[in-house]
Symmetry: C2
Subunit: 308 residues, 2 copies
């Protein structure tokens, strides 16, 4: 392991460590200001759902985008943690028996397995709430206009017209609510909503905190969109190719449920080509930035080449 070849992974892992510590502090048993008491069981289950795993790619994107614009420290870290809390809530609810019915997540029992279903529902609910609380707190940015922008952006990315809407389309794609024959356009829209919107917002949050001008913000959002799309195509490829051991969850699952993915529609080779085009597009969006944007450039390459 030579330092020069794994600088990106090192940065990612270092950020993950800082994010983990910050999430731990946010999920402590001690009631915050204005709170009455935090039940032990709920907090333990929230920690189970949010700590000890994941690449923390979303907070990394927020932190790196803000850094690119000269903004470092507590603000980007907190905003990144908020996005991660939102992401973790969606995983806890997606794993529920009536949803994707998963027993394992990152090789550990899912929250409803380790605790129970009612607790898992409340854990997801409370992780979502905490995400918005973290963004609205003055510790995230002293300018309330910035905080409001962050709340609004995360809400739009994760609400009925974003992530949650995408999750419903995903359930519909299994044929639960009548026959579902998805076109390429449908699959792209579903993925843009289910995973793309939050990944894009991870980048946009950094742009908001970094006071990006409208042109820079638009370029960064376009970068985030390309990265989000690349992430999902890479996920579809992984789902088709990987072994259960490597991912720590059952795979080939989309296939098993009869859900169409871009791999079905474009073939494995077509999907790989699409990934390359998206990497290219992400790089084009960053053309206005110098070498200080190299970490974001490497991030999109990482996303398409990851094996987990």
């Amino acid at each position: 392991m030579t330092p020069s070849t794994n600088t990106f992974t090192e940065r990612l892992n270092r950020a993950a460590g800082i994010v983990e510590a910050s999430l731990q502090a946010l999920l402590s048993d001690k009631p915050g200001p204005g709170e009455i008491a935090r039940p032990d069981r709920l907090m333990a289950a929230m920690r189970h759902g949010a700590l000890g795993g994941g690449k923390r790619l979303r907070p990394f994107l927020t932190i790196e985008t803000a850094r690119l614009l000269g903004q470092e420290g507590e603000g980007p870290l907190r905003a990144g943690c908020a996005v991660e809390l939102l992401h973790c809530y969606s995983l806890v609810h997606d794993d529920l028996p009536s949803m994707d019915d998963d027993d394992l997540r990152r090789g550990r029992p899912t929250v409803h397995k380790a605790f129970d279903e009612a607790t898992a529902i409340l854990v997801g609910d409370a992780l979502q709430t905490l995400a918005f609380e973290v963004l609205a707190d003055p510790a995230t940015d002293r300018d309330p206009a910035i905080r409001s922008d962050l709340v609004l952006g995360l809400a739009r990315a994760s609400g009925p017209g974003g992530m949650v809407g995408g999750q419903l389309l995903d359930l519909a794609a299994e044929g639960r609510y009548g026959a579902a024959e998805l076109s390429e356009i449908d699959v792209r829209q579903l993925q843009m909503m289910k995973t793309g919107a939050i990944l894009t917002f991870s980048v946009e949050a950094g742009a908001i905190l970094g006071r990006a001008d409208p042109a820079a913000r638009e370029n960064l959002v376009n970068y985030g969109r390309a990265l989000g799309a690349a992430f999902q195509v890479a996920d579809d490829i992984l789902d088709r190719e990987s072994s259960s051991e490597a991912l720590g969850k059952r795979t080939g699952k989309d296939l098993e449920k009869g859900k169409a993915t871009l791999v079905d529609l474009l073939g494995l080779e077509g999907a790989r080509r699409e990934c390359e085009l998206l990497v290219e597009s992400a790089h084009v969006s960053l053309e206005g930035f110098g070498p200080e944007a190299d970490t974001l450039r490497e991030a999109v390459r990482f996303v398409v080449e990851r094996q987990v």
Copy 2:
């Protein structure tokens, strides 16, 4: 029905009509700014969970508190709707099979009965998100500091140290997670978290929008706390006394589940006395206000005397 005797009910009903129309607009199929698409099924289920029922007491409190401080119009209406969306999300999730397992709500099938369990989980998730989106939107108040305050307040009232924490304590009180013997203090804390915090915030939201000075805000929050506590004791009394027909839901349910309520701990007469003390306390908190606070004074009386 003479107009003079039912002015309060008329005001409450008129506000409920305006709130209903506003919620309807917020829950339209048309994607909002920054949203990709809103799936029909999700929106229909969200409307099922949020429209066509309820006294809309929470938005009424927000609107009336803001009015008391000279603030009327779109802002208090939107903030009230946000609190109501949050309340509706909690009802949809509380009704789920793994939670309270209720088939009926206000005499109609609950969301998971009318749709399905996965949809109901997503409906609750999206109603929560929408609540925060509505508060952070510039249409609610042009001052971003006010909007941030509203988001922070709602999050704290509904997160792990508020409503959701209270809901977990409520499940624990059924003995799900080991024997549960609740003291009077435990029951009071559970109720303050589960229903009191959001009712209190309904009032505080009006105080925030109305730019209440610290002393007035504190008095209004104290009023909200007393009203919230009175609401819950009245609920416990109703649960013990009412017929199933009148409430549109099964009753004596707490008794059936072995959950301790204040009626168990204080007796019916003791609980009624407690209600009167809380009405008194709410009135004392409003002493600094003139006749313009009469609607809030009547609201607490309404809360303890309601039959549904």
